[in-house]
Symmetry: C2
């Protein structure tokens, strides 16, 4: 009986993994499209991002319900219990990342009033690294790979550095022409949302390291933020 | 035996409530002090906020460990299980709010280079409402009060509105004197962190409503963001 139970739990956990990876796929596309909406001035993509959010919300609730069902049914302990709780938190983070993609899409819509404003290209590089971080953080969780998780955390500094550069670029645009102050502030908001997504990837990685090795690495980097906004 | 178990669980849940309320007390003070550091130019308070973060991190881990222990030991189901999972999420949000307070403190330190820059007073009002929201969200969770939770959500619009006003004020300062662009951008970052804290209070309230009434109210407001950054 015990082993049949654990076989069922094992299969259910596999399904959950698939669900999380699928959800990430949708969120990844939303983040990508929101930044394209911003940089390439594609209002159609902004609309699509915002429309997709309902789908992510519905799936978020389904995944959490499934986790609660598994907790009640199989009452896992030790590492299985911790995995399940981490899955619930990761699921919540994915949903919040989708919200941030919507916020970026909203900023791109506000920029429609400033068709001549050129969004700095650096933002593309920032989002590329951020998405790599999110993907690796998810992989590290799914594969229970603490080393990969540590790589994610080390990359957070890159995003912070790019963010500082972007802010300096936006500030110099504002100083050159005060007409660019308003669109630059919209753009600045968008970069903050991207930076927040990278932060969340870091949270997931920290959680993974704690689960796998028991090392508490979380939060430490926040104190070294220095110049980053 | 069953009833002795549930009596023990009941007592443990009471202790957990006390822990969460205590943790909130510390986080509340950090948020308050970080904004005073910013508005009243008190670098000593910024230092204190950042120093307190370690305490919050340690307590965050303790509370989560306690939740996992209770899940493993008492294997609660139905509403008790959901409460416990929500407590884990709330605990995580409190810790992230403390991080945001640190971020605000960091911004206040960056403003030290601009002693003549006047931080808009409106930021005080914004943080007052935000802290009321966080407190009510926590109370609604502790007391399982869906009505109070709904009030929290309705106040998020106030914070968004104040944020829009603040952004306009900061933009007009930047336009009047381009020397104020850099400090205004620091200030703008700080308001974004406050807005993020209000968002988290809303998340907690949404979670409470779902737990108490089964209504899914979460995420809806994000689509109506409009002008808010």
């Amino acid at each position: 009986m015990e082993s049949r139970m654990s076989k069922h739990l094992h299969r259910a956990v596999q399904d959950l993994r698939t669900d999380l990876v699928e959800q990430f796929g949708v969120v990844e596309q939303m983040i990508n499209m929101s930044v394209r909406a911003l940089v390439e001035r594609r209002p159609d993509m902004a609309v699509q991002v915002i429309e997709t959010d309902d789908k992510v919300d519905a799936k978020d609730i389904l995944i959490e319900e499934e986790c609660l069902k598994l907790l009640a049914l199989y009452q896992p302990v030790a590492i299985d219990l911790r995995w399940m709780v981490s899955a619930i938190k990761l699921n919540g983070d994915l949903e919040r990342m989708a919200d941030l993609a919507c916020n970026i899409a909203e900023r791109s819509k506000s920029l429609d009033l400033f068709p001549l404003f050129k969004v700095p290209d650096d933002i593309n590089q920032m989002v590329t690294i951020t998405l790599e971080m999110v993907r690796s953080a998810l992989d590290s969780f799914i594969e229970q790979d603490a080393e990969l998780a540590r790589e994610v955390i080390s990359r957070d500094d890159e995003v912070d550095r790019l963010n500082v550069e972007l802010i300096e670029e936006l500030q110099s645009m504002m100083k050159t022409d005060t007409d660019w102050i308003e669109p630059a502030v919209h753009c600045f908001s968008a970069t903050r949302h991207i930076e927040r997504i990278a932060d969340m990837a870091t949270n997931v990685a920290e959680e993974t390291i704690y689960m796998v090795s028991g090392d508490i690495v979380r939060h430490k980097h926040h104190l070294e933020e220095g110049k980053a906004h």
